[in-house]
Symmetry: C2
Subunit: 448 residues, 2 copies
Amino acid sequence: MFESVTTFIDDNLDNSIEALKKLVRIPTVAAKGEGLSEAADLVEKMLQDAGLETKQHEITGGAPVVTGWKDVGAKRTLLFYDHYDVQPAEPFDLWDSPPFEPEIRNGRLWGRGVADNKGDATSRIWALKAFKETRTNLPVNIKFVLEGEEEIGSLHLPEYIEKNKDFLKADGGIWEFGGADINGIQEAWLGLKGVFFVELEVVRLSRDVHSSMACTLPSAAYRLVWALNSLKNMDSKITIDGFYDGIKPLTEVELKALEKIDLNEEKLKKEFAIDEYLNGLTGQALKEAYYGEPTCNICGITTGYQGKGSMTVLPARATVKIDFRLVEGMHPDDIHKKLRKHLDSLGFTDVKVIYFEGYPAAKTPVDHPFVKIVNAANKRTHGHDLVVHPTSPGSGPLYLFNEYVPMVSVGCSDFLGKAHSPNESISLENFRKAQHRIVTIMDEMSRW
Amino acid sequence: MFESVTTFIDDNLDNSIEALKKLVRIPTVAAKGEGLSEAADLVEKMLQDAGLETKQHEITGGAPVVTGWKDVGAKRTLLFYDHYDVQPAEPFDLWDSPPFEPEIRNGRLWGRGVADNKGDATSRIWALKAFKETRTNLPVNIKFVLEGEEEIGSLHLPEYIEKNKDFLKADGGIWEFGGADINGIQEAWLGLKGVFFVELEVVRLSRDVHSSMACTLPSAAYRLVWALNSLKNMDSKITIDGFYDGIKPLTEVELKALEKIDLNEEKLKKEFAIDEYLNGLTGQALKEAYYGEPTCNICGITTGYQGKGSMTVLPARATVKIDFRLVEGMHPDDIHKKLRKHLDSLGFTDVKVIYFEGYPAAKTPVDHPFVKIVNAANKRTHGHDLVVHPTSPGSGPLYLFNEYVPMVSVGCSDFLGKAHSPNESISLENFRKAQHRIVTIMDEMSRW
């Protein structure tokens, strides 16, 4: 079945890697607004080369949404959601090779975005290209949505979605990321947490002053520390009034699904060099935190002197970047209000809350037929059942799609991928097999 | 009296400014170990040009201590303590002109170190040079101690002092810094607080990870926030057990001296853009905090992503630079032990304390005869009594000298000087008059 297609994939692996490298070389850091329209042009060209019709949707003040489609009159339609933007590559000095000069070493491709999610996007486009080049009929209709602001909270995607709801209608969708766990077992993620990303800013003086003045002048840095301390206690319980209100707990079906999941506790403890997980969590409690808990996380703090040695300064300004991960039943606008109220009630009226991005969580049901199809395909290409996660602990704008199409996240990354960190990479073998799996999912879908 | 000397000073003001500029151009940031031996050579040459015998005391692993002296067989001896190192100039982008390219604008000289304390050092050396060039006999014997590590806690000065106690013996000494207050009134500082500078470091993971993992992995950044929160409460009371033990309160004489001091509360509130001082302090209570209280101040925090926009990362590492100002009765070694014990007792055994520098406080008595001499000289050159501060809220290694020589801090800086901050500057008129005052102090001393 489609042997000419999979043979083309294997014979052209080097070409698909070259195509991916070309995309990785564009430093599409959405947080900095760099390289986005150039990358949009390139992915549109890649979709066209794979035989799809395309359109670039210009978004005011945002990166274009690129769509591609091919209607072959099939019964079923498969949709892909990917993004061509990446996380900032800082800190640069921790990379073994430059983040935007992709390099192959030890059977892996290294570079910012290869795992999240340019590798996936390219693998999916090249699976379609293999059909085109081998003149094989597509067994399902295809739709592609590629955006350029996923890493900054898909700020303008709702605008596109609002105008193009019909395009989203499909029988199943493959979400941007995914891959193998620490044991090489393929995983599928059925949901995503929401996110609420803010910067808190405190300015208490007209300028930095000599630190001897700390006996009489206010400290922006300490104000920020006290404010941060008030948000989360040492048990990592978030102490904003009403923060946990309305949360939908994991269902019985989901809790049952968790039992089948091995979080590889011991192996990962070694990998992260930790003696124990947060609050000493283990087993089912660890899983429930992983899949079911919201977070309040410091992504970065900036204040005062950060150079070598000592500098005795009282900083006038202090800022912190915080991401809150939200679970079902929470909404960023509500958390925004509660955060402001919390700060004000404690007298932190001097702490400014700057809104960066936010959207709610969403999930595809564990027992949806499309999940079974993806699992069947995986069994054929990888030889084993998928480990099915009811949700990822990470975030994405799944809530925008979920109403129109059930989505499953499988991809070509793996545990060593280091998404969002220095030395991001993918295994080239995973990249190859991910292309095979897409072909097989299409085959399985055509018989649905 | 010494009119030819003061005339020389006025006629050669441009030359003394050029000499100062030359010294400022060497970026002697002790925290980075830059330019120190070059600057030591230059100040030695300046002392020689002023007619002094000199010596560079090589210090293992430290910047040289440069001494100069001239014994004219006078009854009294005057000692100067200065330093040729400066604070880091960061953040560079807040400077209106490059910190190490001194520039004259609006009657002021701008550059890192002009106010703290290369301007003072140069003004003192040029006062002596004026005697030499006009072939005027010095009325007192002169001693100079110039070090290159004041801004990193005079790490190696004790080593020099231990070996050269005899050199320190003098009837009076002029300490490195000083100047005019916000109203242009000259101030004298009779003491210095001690300092204890540390870096706290928390490492909780082998590497930065995707922030979605914050639901199960520990946060170095939050550990640091909680640790910092435990050191000082929102009333700025330091909560380390025993921190305030043994503190010598301000004496009756000192409290009486405070009454004469105008802290220019309202003017400075405007300058610093604050509604009120720390904890709403005013009047005598504000003064007692300023002169009599120790501090725990955050000089800088470093953790995670600090670039533009959002990056969702869980940082593996977090550090903070803290300076504690110490008052009489406290010792850095004791505070070091108490800090460690405090952190351990709260379970912060993961917070590493890295010792940077430390020394105790010291004071010259308010009623010492040498204070009267400096005041008399100031009255002759500046036309008014000095505002006498029993101590500065800042720090310096005065404790090393105090046993051998009473020290008074007067200098050529002023309220606009911005020591330790961007856009450091001095008034050229203050620089000129400071030279006159040195000449007059020598004259007054000769009649003591």
